[in-house]
Symmetry: C2
Subunit: 219 residues, 2 copies
Protein backbone atom coordinates (compact mmCIF):
# COMPACT_ATOMS: atom_id res chain seq x y z
CA UNK A 1 0.00 0.00 0.00
CA UNK A 2 1.53 3.26 -1.04
CA UNK A 3 -0.30 5.47 1.46
CA UNK A 4 0.82 5.43 5.06
CA UNK A 5 -2.65 6.35 6.29
CA UNK A 6 -3.56 2.81 7.28
CA UNK A 7 -0.25 1.96 8.87
CA UNK A 8 0.35 2.07 12.55
CA UNK A 9 3.45 4.15 12.16
CA UNK A 10 1.58 6.86 10.38
CA UNK A 11 -0.36 7.59 13.54
CA UNK A 12 2.81 7.69 15.60
CA UNK A 13 4.40 9.89 13.02
CA UNK A 14 1.50 12.28 13.17
CA UNK A 15 1.52 12.43 16.96
CA UNK A 16 5.23 13.21 16.82
CA UNK A 17 4.70 15.94 14.28
CA UNK A 18 1.84 17.55 16.17
CA UNK A 19 4.10 17.81 19.20
CA UNK A 20 6.93 19.01 16.99
CA UNK A 21 4.75 21.79 15.62
CA UNK A 22 3.85 22.89 19.12
CA UNK A 23 7.48 22.90 20.21
CA UNK A 24 8.65 24.66 17.07
CA UNK A 25 6.13 27.47 17.53
CA UNK A 26 7.91 28.27 20.79
CA UNK A 27 11.52 27.18 20.30
CA UNK A 28 11.75 27.65 16.56
CA UNK A 29 12.31 25.08 13.84
CA UNK A 30 16.05 25.09 14.47
CA UNK A 31 15.52 24.84 18.19
CA UNK A 32 13.60 21.63 17.58
CA UNK A 33 15.81 18.88 18.96
CA UNK A 34 15.25 15.24 18.07
CA UNK A 35 16.50 14.11 21.45
CA UNK A 36 14.18 16.29 23.50
CA UNK A 37 11.28 15.48 21.22
CA UNK A 38 11.94 11.77 21.72
CA UNK A 39 11.99 12.15 25.50
CA UNK A 40 8.75 14.09 25.33
CA UNK A 41 7.17 11.33 23.27
CA UNK A 42 8.53 8.59 25.52
CA UNK A 43 10.45 6.88 22.77
CA UNK A 44 14.04 6.44 21.72
CA UNK A 45 15.88 9.06 19.74
CA UNK A 46 16.74 6.63 16.96
CA UNK A 47 13.20 5.31 16.81
CA UNK A 48 11.86 8.78 16.32
CA UNK A 49 14.62 9.68 13.92
CA UNK A 50 13.82 6.69 11.71
CA UNK A 51 10.51 8.29 10.78
CA UNK A 52 12.24 11.15 9.04
CA UNK A 53 15.82 10.27 8.15
CA UNK A 54 17.15 13.76 8.71
CA UNK A 55 16.41 16.82 10.73
CA UNK A 56 15.55 18.76 7.62
CA UNK A 57 12.92 16.18 6.71
CA UNK A 58 11.53 16.47 10.21
CA UNK A 59 11.35 20.23 9.81
CA UNK A 60 9.62 19.98 6.44
CA UNK A 61 7.15 17.41 7.77
CA UNK A 62 6.50 19.64 10.78
CA UNK A 63 5.74 22.53 8.47
CA UNK A 64 3.27 20.34 6.61
CA UNK A 65 1.26 19.39 9.69
CA UNK A 66 1.41 22.98 10.89
CA UNK A 67 0.08 24.09 7.54
CA UNK A 68 -2.78 21.62 7.78
CA UNK A 69 -3.63 22.82 11.25
CA UNK A 70 -3.51 26.37 9.96
CA UNK A 71 -5.83 25.56 7.09
CA UNK A 72 -8.25 23.82 9.45
CA UNK A 73 -8.20 26.51 12.13
CA UNK A 74 -7.96 29.66 10.02
CA UNK A 75 -8.91 29.18 6.39
CA UNK A 76 -11.72 26.62 6.64
CA UNK A 77 -13.75 28.51 9.26
CA UNK A 78 -13.52 31.62 7.10
CA UNK A 79 -14.81 29.76 4.05
CA UNK A 80 -18.39 29.91 5.27
CA UNK A 81 -18.39 33.65 4.64
CA UNK A 82 -19.56 35.05 1.36
CA UNK A 83 -16.62 35.66 -1.04
CA UNK A 84 -15.43 39.25 -1.07
CA UNK A 85 -15.46 41.69 1.81
CA UNK A 86 -17.21 39.30 4.18
CA UNK A 87 -14.59 36.64 3.49
CA UNK A 88 -11.78 39.15 3.99
CA UNK A 89 -13.27 40.14 7.32
CA UNK A 90 -13.70 36.50 8.25
CA UNK A 91 -10.09 35.68 7.37
CA UNK A 92 -8.78 38.43 9.63
CA UNK A 93 -11.07 37.55 12.51
CA UNK A 94 -10.27 33.89 12.06
CA UNK A 95 -6.54 34.55 12.19
CA UNK A 96 -6.81 36.68 15.31
CA UNK A 97 -9.02 34.10 16.95
CA UNK A 98 -6.50 31.40 16.05
CA UNK A 99 -3.76 33.32 17.80
CA UNK A 100 -6.03 34.02 20.75
CA UNK A 101 -7.15 30.42 21.11
CA UNK A 102 -3.55 29.28 21.28
CA UNK A 103 -3.83 26.85 18.39
CA UNK A 104 -0.04 26.86 18.62
CA UNK A 105 1.31 27.54 22.10
CA UNK A 106 3.89 30.01 20.81
CA UNK A 107 1.49 32.01 18.66
CA UNK A 108 1.26 31.76 14.91
CA UNK A 109 3.58 29.02 13.73
CA UNK A 110 4.29 30.66 10.40
CA UNK A 111 4.91 34.08 11.84
CA UNK A 112 7.52 32.54 14.11
CA UNK A 113 9.02 30.55 11.27
CA UNK A 114 9.14 33.56 8.99
CA UNK A 115 10.92 35.60 11.63
CA UNK A 116 13.36 32.76 12.20
CA UNK A 117 14.24 32.14 8.57
CA UNK A 118 13.76 35.46 6.85
CA UNK A 119 17.45 36.33 7.03
CA UNK A 120 18.89 32.83 6.95
CA UNK A 121 20.64 30.93 4.25
CA UNK A 122 18.39 29.62 1.57
CA UNK A 123 17.25 26.05 1.67
CA UNK A 124 14.17 23.86 1.36
CA UNK A 125 12.87 24.85 4.80
CA UNK A 126 13.17 28.54 4.17
CA UNK A 127 11.62 28.15 0.72
CA UNK A 128 8.65 26.25 2.11
CA UNK A 129 8.03 28.86 4.79
CA UNK A 130 8.19 31.65 2.22
CA UNK A 131 5.76 29.76 0.01
CA UNK A 132 3.25 29.21 2.83
CA UNK A 133 3.45 32.86 3.77
CA UNK A 134 2.90 33.95 0.18
CA UNK A 135 -0.17 31.72 -0.01
CA UNK A 136 -1.66 33.47 3.00
CA UNK A 137 -0.97 36.90 1.55
CA UNK A 138 -2.44 35.81 -1.77
CA UNK A 139 -5.63 34.62 -0.12
CA UNK A 140 -6.03 38.03 1.50
CA UNK A 141 -5.35 39.78 -1.80
CA UNK A 142 -7.74 37.51 -3.63
CA UNK A 143 -10.61 38.33 -1.27
CA UNK A 144 -9.83 42.00 -1.69
CA UNK A 145 -10.02 41.68 -5.45
CA UNK A 146 -13.36 39.88 -5.24
CA UNK A 147 -14.62 42.62 -2.96
CA UNK A 148 -13.55 45.21 -5.50
CA UNK A 149 -15.35 43.36 -8.28
CA UNK A 150 -18.45 43.32 -6.10
CA UNK A 151 -18.11 47.05 -5.52
CA UNK A 152 -17.72 46.43 -1.80
CA UNK A 153 -14.28 48.05 -1.78
CA UNK A 154 -13.42 51.18 -3.70
CA UNK A 155 -11.67 50.92 -7.04
CA UNK A 156 -8.86 53.00 -5.57
CA UNK A 157 -7.97 50.28 -3.06
CA UNK A 158 -4.66 48.60 -3.85
CA UNK A 159 -5.13 44.90 -2.98
CA UNK A 160 -1.49 44.27 -2.15
CA UNK A 161 -1.24 47.42 -0.07
CA UNK A 162 -4.36 46.64 1.93
CA UNK A 163 -3.28 43.04 2.46
CA UNK A 164 0.09 44.29 3.67
CA UNK A 165 -1.47 46.65 6.19
CA UNK A 166 -3.90 44.05 7.51
CA UNK A 167 -1.12 41.52 7.83
CA UNK A 168 1.06 44.07 9.63
CA UNK A 169 -1.55 44.64 12.30
CA UNK A 170 -2.14 40.92 12.75
CA UNK A 171 1.55 40.10 12.94
CA UNK A 172 2.22 42.86 15.43
CA UNK A 173 -0.61 41.60 17.60
CA UNK A 174 0.82 38.10 17.44
CA UNK A 175 4.19 39.27 18.80
CA UNK A 176 3.03 41.81 21.33
CA UNK A 177 0.37 39.65 22.92
CA UNK A 178 3.02 37.13 23.87
CA UNK A 179 5.93 39.46 24.54
CA UNK A 180 3.98 41.66 26.95
CA UNK A 181 1.40 39.08 28.03
CA UNK A 182 -1.19 41.69 27.16
CA UNK A 183 -4.28 40.35 25.37
CA UNK A 184 -5.49 43.90 24.65
CA UNK A 185 -3.24 43.92 21.60
CA UNK A 186 -5.74 41.57 20.00
CA UNK A 187 -8.36 44.28 20.30
CA UNK A 188 -5.94 46.79 18.83
CA UNK A 189 -5.53 44.53 15.82
CA UNK A 190 -9.31 44.13 15.52
CA UNK A 191 -9.73 47.87 15.63
CA UNK A 192 -7.04 48.22 12.98
CA UNK A 193 -8.73 45.68 10.71
CA UNK A 194 -12.13 47.29 11.21
CA UNK A 195 -10.89 50.78 10.39
CA UNK A 196 -8.99 49.62 7.32
CA UNK A 197 -12.04 47.82 5.97
CA UNK A 198 -14.41 50.69 6.74
CA UNK A 199 -12.05 53.15 5.12
CA UNK A 200 -11.83 51.19 1.89
CA UNK A 201 -15.46 50.21 1.76
CA UNK A 202 -18.07 51.57 -0.62
CA UNK A 203 -21.61 52.19 0.68
CA UNK A 204 -22.36 48.64 -0.42
CA UNK A 205 -19.36 47.41 1.49
CA UNK A 206 -20.37 49.33 4.59
CA UNK A 207 -23.72 47.56 4.57
CA UNK A 208 -21.91 44.23 4.40
CA UNK A 209 -19.72 45.18 7.36
CA UNK A 210 -22.74 46.30 9.37
CA UNK A 211 -24.36 42.97 8.69
CA UNK A 212 -21.29 41.21 10.06
CA UNK A 213 -21.33 43.19 13.30
CA UNK A 214 -25.08 42.77 13.70
CA UNK A 215 -25.92 39.47 12.06
CA UNK A 216 -29.50 39.32 10.81
CA UNK A 217 -31.89 37.07 12.74
CA UNK A 218 -32.25 33.69 11.07
CA UNK A 219 -35.33 33.94 8.87
Amino acid sequence: MSSRSSQVGARTRDVILQAAADVASVEGLEGLSIGRLAVQMGMSKSGLFAHFGSKEELQLATIEVARKRYVREVLVPAMTAEPGLAALHALCQSFLSYVERGVFPGGCFFAAAMAEFDAKTEGPVRDRIAYCQSLWMTSLEHSIEIAKQKRQLRASVDPRQLAFELEGAMLAANWYVHMFSDPSYMERARESVRSHLVRGATPTGLRVLQTLDHPPPPS
Copy 2:
Protein backbone atom coordinates in the same frame (compact mmCIF):
# COMPACT_ATOMS: atom_id res chain seq x y z
CA MET B 1 40.65 51.68 37.40
CA SER B 2 36.97 50.96 37.38
CA SER B 3 36.21 51.86 33.77
CA ARG B 4 37.36 49.56 31.02
CA SER B 5 37.39 52.34 28.48
CA SER B 6 41.16 52.79 28.54
CA GLN B 7 42.01 49.11 28.57
CA VAL B 8 42.97 47.17 25.54
CA GLY B 9 40.46 44.45 26.24
CA ALA B 10 37.61 46.90 26.11
CA ARG B 11 38.25 47.48 22.44
CA THR B 12 38.46 43.76 21.80
CA ARG B 13 35.29 43.25 23.76
CA ASP B 14 33.49 45.83 21.68
CA VAL B 15 34.69 44.36 18.40
CA ILE B 16 33.46 40.97 19.55
CA LEU B 17 30.09 42.37 20.52
CA GLN B 18 29.63 44.26 17.27
CA ALA B 19 30.19 41.00 15.41
CA ALA B 20 27.93 39.20 17.85
CA ALA B 21 25.13 41.67 17.18
CA ASP B 22 25.49 41.14 13.44
CA VAL B 23 25.41 37.38 13.83
CA ALA B 24 22.50 37.46 16.26
CA SER B 25 20.38 39.53 13.90
CA VAL B 26 20.60 36.64 11.45
CA GLU B 27 20.97 33.52 13.57
CA GLY B 28 19.18 34.69 16.67
CA LEU B 29 20.51 35.29 20.17
CA GLU B 30 20.26 31.58 20.96
CA GLY B 31 21.89 30.67 17.70
CA LEU B 32 24.88 32.75 18.74
CA SER B 33 27.65 30.26 19.42
CA ILE B 34 30.75 31.18 21.36
CA GLY B 35 32.87 28.78 19.36
CA ARG B 36 31.87 30.07 15.95
CA LEU B 37 32.17 33.63 17.13
CA ALA B 38 35.71 32.93 18.35
CA VAL B 39 36.70 31.43 15.01
CA GLN B 40 35.23 34.44 13.24
CA MET B 41 37.27 36.75 15.49
CA GLY B 42 40.41 34.70 15.08
CA MET B 43 40.80 34.01 18.76
CA SER B 44 40.37 31.11 21.12
CA LYS B 45 37.02 30.10 22.49
CA SER B 46 38.17 30.42 26.09
CA GLY B 47 39.78 33.77 25.43
CA LEU B 48 36.56 35.13 24.06
CA PHE B 49 34.53 33.45 26.74
CA ALA B 50 36.59 35.11 29.50
CA HIS B 51 35.22 38.49 28.50
CA PHE B 52 31.72 37.49 29.52
CA GLY B 53 31.76 34.54 31.88
CA SER B 54 28.57 33.02 30.57
CA LYS B 55 26.54 32.86 27.42
CA GLU B 56 23.74 34.79 29.04
CA GLU B 57 26.13 37.64 29.84
CA LEU B 58 27.29 37.58 26.23
CA GLN B 59 23.68 37.81 25.10
CA LEU B 60 22.92 40.69 27.43
CA ALA B 61 26.09 42.54 26.40
CA THR B 62 25.18 41.94 22.75
CA ILE B 63 21.77 43.45 23.36
CA GLU B 64 23.44 46.50 24.87
CA VAL B 65 25.68 47.21 21.89
CA ALA B 66 22.75 46.52 19.55
CA ARG B 67 20.69 49.01 21.52
CA LYS B 68 23.43 51.62 21.24
CA ARG B 69 23.66 51.05 17.52
CA TYR B 70 19.91 51.34 17.31
CA VAL B 71 19.91 54.61 19.23
CA ARG B 72 22.66 55.97 17.02
CA GLU B 73 21.12 54.86 13.73
CA VAL B 74 17.42 55.37 14.41
CA LEU B 75 16.70 57.63 17.36
CA VAL B 76 19.49 60.20 17.12
CA PRO B 77 18.95 61.04 13.43
CA ALA B 78 15.26 61.56 14.19
CA MET B 79 16.04 63.97 17.03
CA THR B 80 16.79 66.80 14.64
CA ALA B 81 13.09 66.95 13.77
CA GLU B 82 10.77 69.24 15.63
CA PRO B 83 8.97 67.42 18.48
CA GLY B 84 5.49 66.24 17.57
CA LEU B 85 4.27 65.13 14.18
CA ALA B 86 7.56 65.92 12.45
CA ALA B 87 9.45 63.82 14.99
CA LEU B 88 6.95 60.97 14.61
CA HIS B 89 7.41 61.07 10.85
CA ALA B 90 11.16 61.20 11.30
CA LEU B 91 11.15 58.20 13.65
CA CYS B 92 9.26 56.07 11.15
CA GLN B 93 11.39 57.13 8.20
CA SER B 94 14.52 56.63 10.25
CA PHE B 95 13.49 53.13 11.23
CA LEU B 96 12.68 52.15 7.66
CA SER B 97 15.94 53.62 6.45
CA TYR B 98 17.79 51.70 9.15
CA VAL B 99 16.30 48.45 7.91
CA GLU B 100 16.99 49.42 4.32
CA ARG B 101 20.60 50.41 4.97
CA GLY B 102 21.26 47.02 6.54
CA VAL B 103 22.52 48.43 9.82
CA PHE B 104 22.10 44.85 10.98
CA PRO B 105 22.55 42.26 8.24
CA GLY B 106 19.49 40.31 9.34
CA GLY B 107 17.17 43.30 9.54
CA CYS B 108 16.08 44.94 12.76
CA PHE B 109 17.91 43.29 15.64
CA PHE B 110 15.11 43.87 18.12
CA ALA B 111 12.38 42.68 15.80
CA ALA B 112 14.29 39.44 15.39
CA ALA B 113 14.94 39.17 19.11
CA MET B 114 11.32 39.85 19.96
CA ALA B 115 10.16 37.17 17.56
CA GLU B 116 12.68 34.75 19.02
CA PHE B 117 11.85 35.32 22.67
CA ASP B 118 8.21 36.34 22.70
CA ALA B 119 7.02 32.86 23.54
CA LYS B 120 10.04 31.62 25.44
CA THR B 121 10.61 31.07 29.11
CA GLU B 122 11.17 34.21 31.09
CA GLY B 123 14.66 35.29 31.96
CA PRO B 124 16.96 38.32 31.94
CA VAL B 125 17.43 38.21 28.16
CA ARG B 126 13.74 38.07 27.43
CA ASP B 127 13.06 40.83 29.95
CA ARG B 128 15.67 43.07 28.42
CA ILE B 129 14.30 42.59 24.92
CA ALA B 130 10.79 43.33 26.12
CA TYR B 131 12.04 46.47 27.85
CA CYS B 132 13.86 47.72 24.74
CA GLN B 133 10.80 47.10 22.63
CA SER B 134 8.57 48.95 25.08
CA LEU B 135 10.95 51.92 24.99
CA TRP B 136 10.59 52.10 21.23
CA MET B 137 6.81 51.94 21.41
CA THR B 138 6.82 54.56 24.13
CA SER B 139 8.90 56.93 22.04
CA LEU B 140 6.37 56.61 19.21
CA GLU B 141 3.48 57.19 21.60
CA HIS B 142 5.24 60.14 23.16
CA SER B 143 5.68 61.88 19.83
CA ILE B 144 2.03 61.24 19.07
CA GLU B 145 1.00 62.86 22.34
CA ILE B 146 3.15 65.90 21.65
CA ALA B 147 1.60 66.13 18.20
CA LYS B 148 -1.84 66.04 19.78
CA GLN B 149 -0.91 68.80 22.20
CA LYS B 150 0.30 70.84 19.26
CA ARG B 151 -2.99 70.22 17.47
CA GLN B 152 -1.13 68.47 14.67
CA LEU B 153 -3.03 65.26 15.26
CA ARG B 154 -6.73 65.11 16.00
CA ALA B 155 -7.89 64.77 19.59
CA SER B 156 -9.68 61.58 18.54
CA VAL B 157 -6.37 59.86 17.75
CA ASP B 158 -5.50 57.13 20.25
CA PRO B 159 -1.71 57.31 20.74
CA ARG B 160 -1.27 53.65 21.57
CA GLN B 161 -3.47 52.56 18.70
CA LEU B 162 -1.65 54.70 16.17
CA ALA B 163 1.74 53.59 17.47
CA PHE B 164 0.59 49.99 17.17
CA GLU B 165 -0.49 50.43 13.57
CA LEU B 166 2.69 52.23 12.55
CA GLU B 167 4.79 49.58 14.24
CA GLY B 168 2.80 46.84 12.52
CA ALA B 169 3.57 48.23 9.09
CA MET B 170 7.25 48.70 9.91
CA LEU B 171 7.61 45.22 11.38
CA ALA B 172 5.86 43.61 8.45
CA ALA B 173 8.17 45.45 6.06
CA ASN B 174 11.17 44.25 8.04
CA TRP B 175 10.16 40.59 7.65
CA TYR B 176 8.85 40.65 4.11
CA VAL B 177 11.76 42.57 2.62
CA HIS B 178 14.10 39.81 3.70
CA MET B 179 11.84 36.81 3.31
CA PHE B 180 10.90 37.65 -0.28
CA SER B 181 13.99 39.69 -1.16
CA ASP B 182 11.58 42.36 -2.35
CA PRO B 183 12.55 45.92 -1.43
CA SER B 184 9.16 47.22 -2.58
CA TYR B 185 7.77 46.29 0.82
CA MET B 186 9.70 49.25 2.19
CA GLU B 187 7.62 51.51 -0.03
CA ARG B 188 4.46 49.77 1.14
CA ALA B 189 5.42 50.60 4.70
CA ARG B 190 6.17 54.20 3.78
CA GLU B 191 2.79 54.46 2.09
CA SER B 192 1.17 52.99 5.18
CA VAL B 193 2.94 55.45 7.48
CA ARG B 194 2.04 58.36 5.23
CA SER B 195 -1.63 57.45 5.04
CA HIS B 196 -1.89 56.89 8.78
CA LEU B 197 -0.34 60.25 9.53
CA VAL B 198 -2.41 62.10 6.94
CA ARG B 199 -5.57 60.48 8.23
CA GLY B 200 -4.94 61.51 11.81
CA ALA B 201 -3.64 64.96 10.99
CA THR B 202 -5.41 68.24 11.58
CA PRO B 203 -5.08 71.02 8.96
CA THR B 204 -2.11 72.20 10.99
CA GLY B 205 -0.65 68.74 10.89
CA LEU B 206 -1.20 68.45 7.16
CA ARG B 207 0.84 71.59 6.66
CA VAL B 208 3.65 70.06 8.70
CA LEU B 209 3.55 66.90 6.61
CA GLN B 210 3.62 68.90 3.39
CA THR B 211 6.66 70.75 4.66
CA LEU B 212 8.41 67.43 5.26
CA ASP B 213 7.72 66.19 1.73
CA HIS B 214 8.73 69.54 0.19
CA PRO B 215 11.32 71.02 2.54
CA PRO B 216 11.41 74.82 2.36
CA PRO B 217 14.44 76.41 0.72
CA PRO B 218 17.01 77.50 3.29
CA SER B 219 16.34 81.17 3.96
